[in-house]
């Protein structure tokens, strides 16, 4: 057995670290990425390894740096929505909502119509489900469990179709606007989402059954990449990864925005912060999101889906074509953008990976002077340097999978 262990764990004898087994004593440098099958998202790691064990890891993000901030500075506030879609492209609606809320905060729009709040919560939660489905599915696939991936992507496909019906795009929706949403819910939206949730829950159970009782999956996840509570806080971790460490912090609960304060849901919290906890937290969050969605469907009132504020609402088509004021307003709205008072504001929402924030500096024109995105993936990824050193190369795969580094968001 010990021979086998030595073989598996590298050249060093586990019981006697000084015994090199007659092999050369040097450390080796191995390059992983930027195009590596086991990494979703492009990233490069320079690994210094001792046999199979990682001694030091230098993580190089930035392979998907698309200049979100520079592009935003050249775009009007409304034109930034498509860019936010492509930040965390697995949960675009949450980014849309976050950006809209930041601009609304700058403009001093506090009161949103109730129906709008419900719609925003619903689309955010659908996005959260798609995010976690992708994260769990892709990680399972990377660990060799292909069937759960197919099951989960099937569910994601249903949700994409629903969102497509709502917004016109499968993935990059740009559905939310400053002060509202682009259009009201599509007909029978609520009935369709109930139907999808009814079908989704058995699939989640199925995938859970396949994964939790899968010895390979379990052994590769449990105890890997664990993080202590204090470290997690000092590193600025957030989202499922933070909650897996045992910190009960969810922006939806602690700083309720929209109407999350009125909805009932639980925040799942882990104990050890290892990959298994992160996976379980995500699985439970999907269930809670489905609970939130069901409450929203039952409670959603009728009413407008835009605030009544001429600063950010486009005039009616009839007004645009028939009155000179409407025409001018429409023109100014499109060409100059929404005018925002000079100032700065930071808003944050609970994104798929954690606290997603937008910090805007406005100069009084229709374009942001500075639009900074507080990307949860970036802060979360930083911890990987710490968690993978001392582990085996094969542990990198589950650790990365469960950090759920999304290139667009991490590299901006």
């Amino acid at each position: 057995m010990s021979e086998l262990k030595t073989l598996i764990l590298g050249r060093k004898n586990v019981d006697d670290p000084d015994d090199t087994g007659g092999m050369p004593n040097d450390l080796m440098t191995v390059n992983m990425g930027p195009s590596h099958p086991a990494m979703h998202g492009t990233i490069r790691i320079e690994l210094t390894i001792d046999g199979e064990r990682v001694v030091e890891a230098d993580i190089n993000p930035g392979y998907l740096h698309r200049g979100f901030e520079k592009e935003s500075e050249a775009a009007t506030y409304t034109q930034v929505f498509p860019y936010t879609d492509r930040l965390n492209y697995v949960s675009p609606m949450i980014n849309n909502v976050g950006w809209a809320m930041a601009v609304e905060k700058l403009m001093g729009i506090d009161e949103l119509p109730p129906r709008l709040q419900y719609i925003r919560v619903m689309v955010s939660e659908i996005s959260r489900i798609t995010d976690h489905l992708t994260c769990v599915g892709a990680s399972a696939m990377e660990l060799g469990a292909f069937a759960p991936f197919l099951f989960l992507v099937k569910v994601r496909e249903w949700l994409y179709e629903l969102l497509e019906e709502l917004s016109g795009a499968r993935l990059t929706h740009s559905y939310v606007r400053v002060g509202g949403v682009a259009k009201d819910l599509s007909p029978k939206f609520c009935a369709k989402i109930t139907d999808i949730l009814d079908r989704m829950e058995p699939v989640l159970d199925e995938a859970k059954g396949l994964l939790n009782s899968n010895k390979i999956f379990y052994d590769r996840m449990a105890g890997v990449g664990s993080f202590t509570e204090d470290d997690a806080i000092a590193y600025g971790l957030s989202g499922p990864c933070l909650r897996a460490c045992g910190v009960d912090y969810d922006v939806r609960k602690d700083f309720p925005y929209l109407n999350y304060g009125d909805l009932e849901f639980d925040v799942p919290v882990g104990t050890s912060g290892d990959c298994l906890d992160r996976y379980l937290v995500r699985l439970e969050e999907m269930r809670q999101s489905s609970l939130i969605l069901r409450q929203c469907i039952a409670q959603i009132p009728e009413g407008p889906v835009m605030v009544d504020d001429p600063r950010c609402v486009m005039p009616e088509k009839g007004e645009t074509y028939n009155t000179i004021e409407g025409m001018i307003r429409h023109f100014k709205h499109i060409v100059d953008g929404i005018r925002v008072e000079p100032g700065e504001a930071y808003t944050f929402v609970e994104g798929g990976n954690g606290e997603l924030g937008f910090f805007i500096v406005a100069d009084g024109t229709g374009r942001p002077w500075k639009a900074y995105c507080r990307a949860p993936s970036f802060s979360n990824l930083q911890t990987v340097t710490k968690t993978i050193s001392g582990r085996l190369i094969s542990d990198i795969v589950p650790i990365f999978g469960m950090i759920n580094m999304i290139g667009g968001e991490c590299d901006k």
Binding site: P82, Y89, E157
Partner: protein
């Protein structure tokens, strides 16, 4: 004359085989990767077109799908992977970012991967719908069948040049 006809026919047969068995190397970088997942997943099922088997080693594949934005930092890696692909090789630019840079026209994004490597089929869309991707694959199949991809054409040109050189030499 007779020999030429035979070689062309042989080439056609090989191309017919090639077009129904693409071995894909998905060079996934960004958002389009989500749609690539959907294309590979049961509903759209890329397997119907014989291209379902992603090989994550460029040496085992002949079709490179560049899925997503290529940044200047990524460009050398892309070039290197392309050079390693097995001949004859084909490239699909998946999505508008790979095709032209899309709405990212800034310091960091390459304005289209054709600045770096030759491309056979461009699939527009941000991200393209899975149906569009399948359409792109069918288009590439047609091109490969007719021997009109960049790589095949270059190979033919070189063969012709060789022949010319030989005949001139003799």
């Amino acid at each position: 004359m007779g020999l030429e006809i035979t070689t062309t026919k042989l080439e056609d047969l090989a191309n017919w085989g090639r077009k129904f068995s693409f071995f894909t190397y998905p060079f996934i970088t960004a958002c389009c990767g989500m749609e690539f997942m959907s294309v590979a997943a049961p509903k759209y099922d890329i397997a119907r077109f014989g291209a379902e088997f992603p090989r994550f080693s460029p040496r085992q594949s002949d079709l490179m799908m560049v899925v997503g934005t290529i940044t200047e930092k990524q460009a050398p890696a892309l070039k290197r992977v392309y050079d390693q692909l097995a001949e004859p090789k084909y490239v699909i630019a998946f999505g508008v970012c790979a095709s032209t840079g899309g709405f990212y026209q800034n310091y960091s994004v390459v304005p289209g991967i054709d600045q770096i490597i030759p491309v056979d089929v461009y699939i527009p869309g941000c991200p393209p719908r899975p149906e569009q991707v399948l359409d792109g694959i069918i288009l590439l199949q047609k091109k490969v069948g007719e021997g009109r991809t960049v790589n095949q054409m270059r190979a033919r040109r070189e063969a012709m040049k060789d022949k010319q050189r030989q005949s001139e030499g003799v």
